[in-house]
């Protein structure tokens, strides 16, 4: 049995999810922010931060979400762990729709969903020692006595590659990479089944990024974790994800396994993202690229039809008027994309 299969099985058992069922299912998630203006705070518009996003996350896998800044990937992540309340749509976790739960049930279920934040400098309370920061979740929920919590903290620090002497330190005495390890450790203190990793390595030096990514991978196999990995860096996403969701302006453009996505992207937007990523092999650098121009349109006034048509080099009349649905394409299966004229198909 391979490592990934083992992870899947472990994760499925821990979460109590039946075979083939997703651990987390995001269904038609929509999050609109009202824009208020004028002296009476009338609603003058809506920012469609997340607009009808759907995807499933299966136990033990890592689902990557990529996209430019402002595409709604972080908002999606925060909506999953309920830091933001969705305008509509469902987040089904371990078979239960989080929207249907009362405050108390939500509080309990939410403990199985934890988040690692992007900025390791603002995600740790500067006034508390590392040992207290990590013991706090256990003590707040009365899951352990002070003594047991201390032992668990030592264990967890060891697990994320920090020695026990860090317990007495304050966050400002740690480097970015060390802080992010503490952030990961804190998210794991309550034994969650799913971690939302919101750009966990974007704020770190490249050399540290690899270490943290490897740590995340090891933890996943050891503990049977499921990840939603949000990033704008394709390198990190490719390295850690099993499947990838490509988002643009609050909508899903393409969903595919990592191998499929990198081998043959179907959506022109995905292609531009891949082309923007520098090729490590110098011999490949000469090849033709699709380069998009201009900026991401305003999410308060999204373009008609396909939201990408304003920047798409292949846009035609149909793209301006009709919004493409997320479909499985000609070959069906797990590779889905939202484009009228996908790449690799004779037009």
């Amino acid at each position: 049995m391979s490592a990934t299969e083992l992870t899947t099985r472990k994760a499925r058992e821990r979460a109590g999810v039946p075979d083939g069922q997703p651990l987390l299912s995001v269904q038609d998630l929509t999050l609109h922010y009202p824009i208020r203006g004028g002296i009476v705070s009338r609603q003058t518009g809506t920012v469609r931060a997340v607009d009808g996003v759907s995807f499933d996350v299966f136990p033990g896998e890592t689902l990557g979400i990529v996209g430019e800044s402002g595409c709604g990937k972080s908002t999606t992540g925060r909506a999953i762990i309920r830091l933001e309340n969705p305008t509509s749509g469902a987040v089904v976790f371990e078979g239960r729709d989080l929207a249907g739960l009362n405050t108390r049930e939500l509080r309990r279920v939410r403990l199985d969903l934890q988040m690692v934040f992007q900025d390791p400098y603002s995600s740790l309370n500067p006034q508390k020692r590392i040992g207290d920061l990590l013991a706090e979740p256990l003590l707040a929920h009365r899951r352990a006595s002070r003594k047991v919590a201390g032992e668990r903290v030592t264990e967890m620090l060891d697990r994320v590659g920090l020695s026990a002497q860090f317990k007495g330190r304050y966050p400002h005495e740690l480097s970015g990479g060390q802080r992010q390890r503490v952030g990961i450790a804190r998210a794991l203190m309550l034994d969650p089944t799913l971690l939302v990793l919101d750009e966990p390595v974007s704020a770190l030096d490249v050399s540290i990024q690899a270490q943290v990514l490897n740590l995340l991978r090891d933890l996943q196999t050891e503990l049977g974790l499921t990840y939603v990995f949000i990033s704008h860096g394709l390198g990190a996403v490719r390295y850690i994800s099993d499947r990838i969701v490509v988002m643009y302006l609050g909508k899903v453009m393409e969903v595919a396994t990592t191998a499929d996505l990198f081998a043959g992207p179907r959506h022109p937007y995905t292609e531009t993202l891949l082309d923007a990523y520098p090729a490590p092999n110098p011999h490949q650098r000469g090849r033709e690229r699709i380069v998009v121009e201009g900026d991401v349109p305003n999410a308060a006034k999204p373009p008609s039809g396909c939201v990408f048509h304003t920047r798409c080099p292949f846009a035609r009349e149909k793209c301006r008027t009709e919004e493409p649905r997320l479909t499985g394409g000609a070959q069906g299966g797990s590779h889905a994309f939202a484009c009228h004229f996908p790449l690799g198909e004779a037009a």
Binding site: I81, M115, D119, S122
Partner: protein, 310 residues
């Protein structure tokens, strides 16, 4: 030139000391750096000494005062002498003893009133900043209403209505002083609640009071401490003013303010300075000292030196 060299040398030495500390793997603790920066302010250090001395005088008043403050001696309006170091007042009471006991009133009223309004201000400010929306709008409009009253007048009327006493002036000042603190706290909360560590607290399922008091408040403390310090100085002036107008501590109990009001006549002003100079100087020195402490605290606590984490 020599001064400049000494200064550079000193700077180099402290930089070196810090570098050594860093290389040893232990940075200077936050508290220690605050203390160091506080005492860099010479006036703040002197102010603190004076303030602590005043508190000691207040606590140990019966031991320090040479006489009972209400004891009436045969010689009244007597000039300072060895029997009465600061002379006696028109009734024949020892001025020094009254001054010492007056310290008690000033310190109790000011510290008490500030404690009352800091507690109220912190709670309301936390609620307004954290919950936002309607709660925020209502609380801040109420604060606006409170702030738009002429402060001293309202206290005057309040005390006149509920009757002058130590407890009543403490409450009057305390119940009216919260808006400034609550605005301050609200402002800090607005920026702190968007920090990821607060969001992490929410997703870790911490209760709202825990997030408010253990995660947000400790990070919003420095402006509160600074403001409360200045508030103490202000309350001392308010209390003196009220007592001067006869709405403070009731005679025969001694307070700096009512000692001044006993010395209003021109004859006293011109020929008996021992009646009004000591309480005047006491108020002036105490308020100045506390303001210096406040200045020092502000520089020490709100400096970006260790707060910048990058």
């Amino acid at each position: 030139m020599s001064a400049a060299t000494t200064r550079t040398a000193a700077a180099a030495r402290s930089a070196a000391a810090r570098a050594v500390a860093a290389s040893l793997g232990r940075e200077e603790s936050y508290l220690r750096s605050v203390v160091r920066r506080f005492f860099k302010h010479r006036l703040a250090g002197i102010g603190l000494v004076v303030f602590v001395a005043m508190i000691l005088v207040a606590v140990l008043a019966p031991l320090i005062a040479p006489h009972d403050p209400n004891q009436i001696f045969d010689e009244f309006q007597a000039a300072p002498s060895s029997a009465h170091l600061l002379g006696t007042d028109p009734v024949g009471r020892d001025v020094l003893s009254r001054l010492v006991f007056g310290t008690r009133v000033s310190i109790t009223v000011s510290v008490g009133a500030v404690s009352v309004y800091v507690v109220i201000g912190v709670c309301l400010g936390l609620a307004a900043g954290y919950y936002g929306k309607v709660v925020d709008a209502v609380l801040m409009r109420v604060a606006d209403v409170f702030m738009s009253f002429p402060y001293f007048m309202v206290i005057l009327i309040l005390v006149a209505v509920i009757g002058p006493s130590l407890l009543n002036i403490t409450l009057a000042i305390g119940l009216l002083g919260w808006p400034v603190i609550s605005r301050l706290v609200r402002g800090s909360v607005l920026s702190i609640k968007n920090q990821d560590y607060v969001k992490a607290g929410v997703s870790l399922g911490y209760s709202t009071p825990k997030i408010l008091f253990q995660h947000i408040l400790p990070n919003a403390l420095s402006p509160i401490i600074v403001n409360a310090t200045f508030g103490i100085a202000n309350a001392i002036i308010l209390e003196s003013g009220l007592s001067f107008l006869g709405l403070g501590v009731r005679p025969p109990a001694a307070s700096w303010g009512n000692m001044l009001s006993d010395a209003q006549s021109i004859t006293v002003m011109t020929s008996q300075p021992w009646l009004w100079l000591p309480p005047g100087i006491a108020i002036f020195v105490t308020v100045l000292a506390i303001n210096f402490v406040g200045d020092g605290l502000r520089d020490a606590l709100e400096s970006r030196e260790t707060k910048s984490h990058r």
